[in-house]
Symmetry: C2
Subunit: 367 residues, 2 copies
């Protein structure tokens, strides 16, 4: 193989596929980036068997061929090169010569014969959306995916397509995050569970704006994201997702509207009195005079009253501040509305159109 | 005690003294910030017995008194407060009430009776210099202070004052860094060894420019840095420092001048082939055609030739790239000059006036 490409194009490609290189792999070939140069151009691929990424880069093919290079060293080398043309040439033993201006590297490569190709995805089921929207709905829900893998279903996000509606759900047993958007077209009903790990990588490499589209194709076991010259293939999580609709009741006994920033910084302050060994809830005391947040821990006490618009009954309810902070940090609205039923029922933060819904379970406390 | 101060002034003061709060302390009182309000104003102090910092802040004293507050929580609380006036009041049991706008904190404090006061420093020996210069000479030498404490002397920087000259030296057994500056006045000859830890904190809090002065006072056991309303007291390291002058010979057999950035990025690239388990030297091969840097490791090989101005004999010499990178990263000159004697003698990077001198021991290699 003998190719040349600009440092910039090569580095962009390497950075994209690097997201599918595992930190620790079971086989050395999984730690490699495969470079293929053939009639379809120059293609970089990485595949850790759960997630695979392939991207085409611009460049000149002087001799077709294939080589697999250790991803960490290859990416380090490309990043270190001057902003000029990079030439990559392999010999019969896959010793790879990388030159750029006066810098000359020689590193050992592999044939790539044992490199696991990306699965072929049948392009039957499909939706298209803007790259910006995809990134936003993931960002606004991903924090609710369970941190541990005790329950496989909770390690993923549920994508539910009904007509021209896409709803994305993440939950971890203590909270639920839901985002709903309208698609430009209507599609058949489909639902699938995409691993959280895949989505965390997707938001890093899908950098387009509102006008840049991305295609999503689904099979029973896989999802394919296709945008520009890049393909991301991920396995899906199998199983039947949780039925959450009955938890999101639209009845409520108390409803408040509050300035998001004021609420956020008040929670920040109260959180200072929580230590690793003493995880006390923060208590919201909602009356006609306002909402008093207070906390009493071994470190001390804190209280602060903030202005609210209130409708319904007075209420005192305890909550885990981190869960509420996570939701507030991704809501773009200046004012937010929170719905309560009683001190033992979920706290629900949502907008009128329910384009977002965040549900957090309360914590019981001794008064 | 009852005081009020602006959040900004209080936070600046807290951030300054925090540098003397140890991450892990042997006694709880060492993890505290002492607040004193008396006829001399409002004073914050932290003291970890090796390093003590005291700073005065602007504010109103409504009732004189003293309290010691756990530094981590107190600083967290101050940081979290809105940009307004902060009121701090203690009761007879040192329960401390902190209020700011509508936020109300109550935390347990201590009397501070067991707080170790800063040592009184006799102001006999003294120099004055610009805060900018002090920060610069520390920044340009501190990386050569030994990382481990095996040798106490190597854990500090040597300050040597002779007339109107200040020379600062740091060494770790593999390299030496020297900075020399002219002072505005002439002083008696003094030399002392200041702990590296103290200097690392000093460069964070001495933020003044060329026109802002700082006073340094020395006793046999302590150094006092005084600037603005802040005092930093540190113990000194005892012992006789290394005699280094005979190592910095002005003879040389080869002298080269090279563009600093080109040299830096070439070393960066070559360093990529060094792994934790395979610490190979980089080799400089200096001839009339230029300087070829090359490295051969288990990962691969790299070579690159860069342009130099050369005087003297050809030379091939191996070196630890990190040591040379550290020196290059603090030199502000565009071109640097390097002096060599032979492949077993130190590599010396210095400017003509010897305002800086960096000495790095070579590494022997098999050709």
């Amino acid at each position: 193989m003998k190719i040349s490409a600009s440092k910039k194009d090569l580095l962009d490609g390497v950075n994209t596929v690097m997201k599918a290189v595992p930190a620790r792999a079971t086989a050395p070939i999984m730690e490699c980036i495969l470079i293929e140069a053939d009639s379809q151009g120059i293609r970089l691929t990485a595949n850790d068997s759960e997630l695979g990424i392939e991207t085409n880069i611009k460049g000149l093919i002087l001799e077709e061929g294939t080589v697999a290079l250790e991803a960490k060293f290859f990416s380090g080398i490309v990043r270190s090169l001057p902003d000029s043309t990079v030439n990559i040439a392999t010999d019969a033993n896959y010793i790879t010569n990388i030159t750029c201006d006066k810098a000359v590297f020689n590193i050992a490569g592999r044939s790539g014969i044992d490199f696991v190709a990306l699965p072929e995805i049948e392009k039957t089921n499909h939706i298209v959306m803007s790259q910006f929207s995809l990134r936003e709905i993931i960002r606004q829900t991903i924090f609710s995916v369970a941190a541990n893998d005790n329950n496989q279903l909770m390690a993923g996000e549920y994508f539910e397509i009904k007509g021209d509606r896409l709803r994305v759900i993440a939950l971890d047993g203590q909270r639920i995050a839901i985002r709903r958007i309208e698609l430009n077209e209507s599609y058949g009903d489909v639902s699938l569970i995409v691993p959280g790990k895949t989505l965390r990588e997707i938001i890093k490499i899908v950098t387009g704006e509102m006008d840049d589209n991305i295609d999503l194709y689904f099979t029973d076991n896989h999802i394919l994201f296709e945008f520009g010259t890049t393909k991301v293939v991920s396995r899906l999580i199998e199983g039947e997702y949780f039925r959450i609709d009955r938890m999101i009741s639209s009845d409520y006994d108390t409803r408040i509207t509050v300035d998001k920033r004021t609420f956020q910084s008040c929670i920040e302050r109260a959180s200072l009195l929580i230590s690793e060994s003493d995880r006390r809830p923060i208590i919201m005391d909602i009356t006609d005079d306002g909402m008093e947040l207070n906390i009493r821990s071994t470190i001390g006490t804190m209280n602060e009253t903030i202005d609210i618009d209130k409708e319904g009954r007075d209420l005192k309810i305890g909550f885990n501040p981190q869960f509420v902070k996570d939701a507030l940090s991704v809501i773009d609205d200046e004012n937010i509305t929170i719905y309560f039923t009683n001190s033992k029922a979920p706290i629900i933060i949502k907008d009128e159109e329910q384009s977002y819904v965040y549900l957090v379970l309360p914590i019981t406390f001794s008064a």
